[in-house]
Amino acid sequence: MAKVAIVVNGSEPKSVYPSFILGTSGLAIGNEVMIFFCPAGSVPWCKKGELEKVTMKGNPDMKDLVQKYVKLGGKLYLCELALEAKDLKKEDIRTDTEIIGATEFMSKASDATVTFSF
């Protein structure tokens, strides 16, 4: 099965909805999926409880999507540069999200055959 790498680089709902819709759909068919939040996409999404609040007309419930993404084994990563760039504290970050550097992410994503950036 494919490895899928999705990069979130925007702070609006239009960046996270497709990430989680495609991400969960990839997991459903057996793909390995990772979502990486760049600094520009880190706030508010990587703060505890913020993803669950987002809504967008005609789209599924984001809280349900995020729960299922994690339940099906999807990985969430936050670029460590976001901490300083966005004045984030580690304790404010979602517990299901791992803070990693760019090199580690690129290592994980280097054999991804499906990539998206939103």
Binding site: T24, G30, P60, L72
Partner: protein, 76 residues
């Protein structure tokens, strides 16, 4: 006598890709030979379910349009 079981899943009112995600999670509980009957009214459900079955090696027994909702059975 067959020991297969037919399970039911109501995914009415859920939007793409939620019905398929519900099927994926339910699938973890099922045994080989079991049948899962799903009700859904998401427009893309028939094609999504066909793709899911093809990708995961399950058998789509049928997916019928019942006028505003779909009823499908999958054999595991």
């Amino acid at each position: 006598m067959s020991d297969t079981t037919t399970h039911k899943l109501d995914a009415l009112g859920l939007k793409c890709p939620q019905p398929i995600l519900e099927v994926t999670i339910k699938a973890k509980e099922l045994k080989k030979g079991d049948v899962l009957e799903v009700l859904a009214d998401c427009h893309s459900f028939p094609r999504d379910l066909k793709a899911w079955c093809e990708r995961t090696g399950r058998v789509l027994l049928f997916c019928n349009d019942e006028g505003g909702k779909f009823r499908a059975q999958i054999q595991f």
